[in-house]
Symmetry: C2
Subunit: 348 residues, 2 copies
């Protein structure tokens, strides 16, 4: 069924303000909202205009959710795990530690029942949300000293956000909540011992390689963090059907585009970082195992006391196990072979 052609002439001019949680300097993640705004304008003949404001410009970076919920602004572009202080259930909308990679997150959202569960949860905040970006697996952070054992985590002042901080504190880490712009001086002065942000491209922009030598991987707390576009429910529902579709499809393209952009930018930045002296280090398996156990304890404790969390967790956990079964077969075995193979060229 198609929309009635007559609507075209009567489509109203609509102007929305979008509060981003990110600074303009982080052009890829901030750029996701600009991408959505541009596409929506192009798709509606300029009639539906979204103006994007950087974090802190009209709304504090980490208060985007409240501003959208309260209709202070019509929409925002943020990462839902920023709001785990309100309810850890928000983390499913972005990334759960040891959770889904970017493709699995998209699969869960689009065809695995995730969107329905998260829409129901967000409705409690007067919000209709969309996936509008993903960074892919992030890096595990910068440290001034090497991490060799679980013991090395004890007392470590580590800048880390959201749910992962809770999990790491079980192993003795002292999580530090510090905004992006304040990390560099804190790391330089030694106020903190380490910091995680995103990945090579963004981290190099923030200059962390100049004040910390060891760059760990993977960011086990962010296998594929989704960036979300939040809309005030009443505002969204008042949109003409065509504008709703324009917004939905623009957000989907933004998801695809941000991953692709990071995958190219991180590739280039990684080479540049290593050339400038950064030492790449995998987290020791012992550390990952300990964090994994701490994550299980954290999730099960939350599920025992939080019905909303439990509802999503039970479905998500089953999906995760089943999806891993499949990914282990074709996808992972392909990656494993080609990553281990020599260059695709005859030996000279």
């Amino acid at each position: 069924t198609l929309a009635a052609p007559a609507i075209a002439q009567t489509n109203p001019e609509i102007k929305w303000r979008c509060a981003s949680s990110f600074p303009k300097s982080l052009d890829t993640i901030y750029g996701g909202a600009e991408f959505v705004a541009r596409r929506v304008a192009e798709l509606t003949d300029g009639k539906f205009q979204i103006r994007v404001f950087a974090g802190g410009e009209i709304v504090p970076a980490l208060q985007v959710l409240d501003a959208v919920k309260d209709n202070t602004i019509e929409c925002g572009h943020t990462v839902s795990y920023y709001y785990v202080g309100k309810d850890p259930t928000f983390a499913f909308d972005s990334a759960m530690p040891f959770g889904l990679n970017a493709r699995q997150q998209n699969a869960w959202m689009r065809h695995g029942g995730g969107l329905e569960l998260m829409r129901e949860f967000f409705a409690g905040y007067n919000i209709v949300q969309f996936s509008a970006g993903n960074t892919g697996t992030q890096m595990g952070g910068w440290f001034r000293k090497e991490i060799k054992t679980v013991e090395d985590l004890k007392g470590l002042k580590f800048r880390i956000g959201g749910y992962a901080g809770t999990i790491m504190s079980k192993l003795g880490v002292v999580p530090q909540q510090i905004g992006g712009g304040d990390i560099y001086p804190a790391l330089e002065k030694g106020t903190i011992d380490g910091a995680e942000w995103v990945g090579p491209y963004d981290d190099e922009k923030l200059g962390f390689n100049k004040v910390a030598k060891y760059y760990y991987y993977p960011g086990w707390w962010e296998g594929g963090p989704q960036v979300s576009f939040l809309t005030n429910k009443a505002q969204y529902e008042a949109l003409p059907k065509q504008y709703k579709v324009a917004l939905e499809t623009a957000c989907a393209e933004a998801t695809l585009d941000m991953i692709a952009k990071y995958d190219v930018q991180n590739m280039n930045a990684l080479k540049s970082l290593v050339a400038s002296g950064t030492q790449l280090r995998p987290y020791p398996n012992e550390v990952l195992q300990a964090c994994y156990q701490a994550a299980i304890e954290t999730y099960e404790a939350e599920a025992a006391k939080n019905e909303k969390f439990k509802k999503v967790f039970d479905q998500w956990r089953k999906f995760r196990e089943d999806e891993y079964l499949w990914f282990r077969v074709a996808e992972y075995s392909f990656d494993r072979f080609v990553y281990a193979a020599p260059p695709l060229a005859s030996k000279k």
Copy 2:
């Protein structure tokens, strides 16, 4: 800059016919074109309508490229490696054996220089193409007997399409070009010894598990095959700007959506196949190594005689190596840990 609002009233009604290379029964890959058509209609108030025809309905399944090139139809939905007989350069637009996975293909296309190179190549066929789907890494096919050594490939009649057939023939395989609907009877009668198609969901639909016991992985010739939406260049260029954008963004969403849909459907189908007795087998490393060497020889021989191929191959090969460097770090180490870890639950 925004399109002039005045255009809205004058947008013409446009009807296009789209020839798919796929049967309607393969709802996910065929559904990609339906997805594009529905979105484009919704985004243009029903004014830009694309009617999708299944493979063979108005154009033979494997002649979609010619029909679009010759303006017999305005557009088509197909896999570009079907046309490697004309020029192996087409394979870069879908999948090269031992090439990119789905995410890397999207990164190459959107931000890695791939789209520009492929658009230049397709312009020689009067075509402007878009990514409009991807299956993810496919399975490596069904066999009635186990493959344990490279010797076991000799004389094997294996249904396999495109460039991979050329590569496998170097190892003694006798590649068979057989349409989807004819594979089952050929495998049942023993006319062929094995067949590859897509993955668990589509393969189960075609019933291969009933006539072959061993299901191999990975499909090393298709790490992330893109499904493409081809438009006749003159037809595309005659579209109003808004319709062009609608088509582009709809194709992008179709790419994201098809991957997500396959990732959920394959997950479920794999469990069902294994429950019904299918034996999963990894290709022996020796076989993969031999195929890898054969691929290198094939590519270098082609590059030596085909300037168009060489131009894309040189850029693509560099991109592939650099992208693998990055994926080996965060993405692969995350996947490796979580796939090897026990279920995300305390031991009972």
